[in-house]
Amino acid sequence: RVSALLALDTSTEWASVAVFDGSAVLAEETWHAQRRHAEDLFPTIERLLTLSRQQIGTVDKVAVATGPGSFTGLRVAIAAAQGLARGSGAALVGISTLDVLAYPHASSKLRTCPLLPAGRGEYYAALYQERNRKWARRSPFIVGSLVDLCRQIGTHTLFVGEIDAEGESTLRDLLGPLALFAPPASRMRRAGYLAELGWNELAERTQAPLGALEPIYVRQPAMGGSFAQPFTPPPADDAALGLPKRTA
């Protein structure tokens, strides 16, 4: 029976989509979407289906990256994936974005630390390592500065993910020879790996309700912003009322 998995990842400024048939990645695209995920996602899906000579009807599995990452970015692919699964009855699975980043480096036998920008100079991270011949995540999902993160690192560690030049030199300063870096092209997140992880996961378990799939937010929402006006007793002045600044 013809069967295909569609993998969607819009976790950060980088996005990736792949079509997988259980043994091979038939088509894959990874691009710097910045903030255009919503504009780019569906044209990319349709293009990759055409390139891989698949009909949407043959897609009976959908895998989506669930973060951590950009809150808004994560919701783009997760909402799309839920819609696709609702529309066709395809099975849906969520895989952590950090799991996807670390997975291609499993054969290196090195402790691997994927990094993704979390804003405010902080990063999302987790530590992966092979133990008893089993590759797995060995830490919770962490958010913090590189200094915080390096306190937990005492051995040679391979860094992958979205690390800019400044981040790389900070890690070298903090860890010296313990910090190892994959070359830029293999640091990237590619949906082909998400597809493979998703396919394996779906082979092992039954489908949960679509709405149960939630992003890994790690952080609570910031309560600031122009819409947030906490309830206060009758206020004494404009500012306390949340009134906009008056212009003369």
Binding site: R36, A38, E39, L41, F42, P43, I45, E46, I56, G57, V59, F71, T72, R75, V76, A77, I78, A79, A80, A81, Q82, G83, L84, A85, R86, G87, S88, A90, P209, L210, G211, E214, P215, Y217, P221, A222, M223, G225, F227, A228, Q229, P230, F231, P234, P235, D238, L241, G242, L243, P244, R246
Partner: protein, 332 residues
Amino acid sequence: MRILAIETSCDETGVAVIEDGRRIRANVIATQLAHQATGGIVPEVAAREHLRAIDPITDTALRDAGITLREVDAVGATVGPGLVGCLLVGANYGRGLALAAGLPFIGVNHLEGHVYANWLLQTEELRPEPELPAVVLVVSGAHSDLVLMEAHRRFRLLGRTIDDAAGEAFDKVARLLGLGFPGGPEIEKAAKDGDPNAFPLPKAWLADRYDFSFSGLKTAVLRLTKSLEEKGTVPVGDVAASFQKAIVEALAEKTARAAAEHGVRSVMLGGGVAANSALRAEITRRIAVPLHVPPPRLCTDNGAMVGAAAFFSLRHRGAEMPAGVRSNLPLA
């Protein structure tokens, strides 16, 4: 033609099934309760709630309508204006669903949705459609827009608020007077026992334009309340009635003037503030054409109005919708 329609532009998750643009087969709305604790909408909280609700609500809407996706002909979703993080949830869910089910996807302008709520039928009886051209006033906690509808899919924005939305002004003054949230119904209730001429308040409009401005009025109420407090107790009913009169007069005056200037054949309302009976009475008094107002459940944000707008948008093929979502999406 049956349309599955999705609305997630602000803090209501709505999914509906609409037949031929007018008959409601299902209309499920989940109002987010998370915002009551903060007394205002936190966009990130709203977007998280939408994602949690969208699929279960779609399932419920299809069940309510007693149909499967095979009996749906198109999918519509709001793509703007609204909170981007919220719009993205409904729009991407809708696009995914449409692609996988082999259905066309229609991006809907939220304001057009409020306009087309006036086409939705309450009973099985087929009422005549509102006559065009028409002037439409959309007033809620998020909008204060005066729109000229020349024909289907031919809209012109005549005026809008330059600061707060009318509903926001109601909310803030209600809070100032120690009344509950949302402020619209609370102010209306308090105003019933008050004298609308007790306190003169400034007009909430800009001369020679169809734009509104509610922030000066709000500040005037704040000053008035403070000075009354210093003298003793605040006559809440009188302040509420005076404030309501000022805001209703501004909305009714601009709406009636636009209706006369453009020689329209009907006037329509939309948005939560349309439920205010003083507003309806004041507009009726000032216009010579029929006034259409949807029932309260269809005035506030909902999926049914999106389904109606999607139908007429498909039938009258207007401007192309952008691929993504837009917080400030203009009218067609």
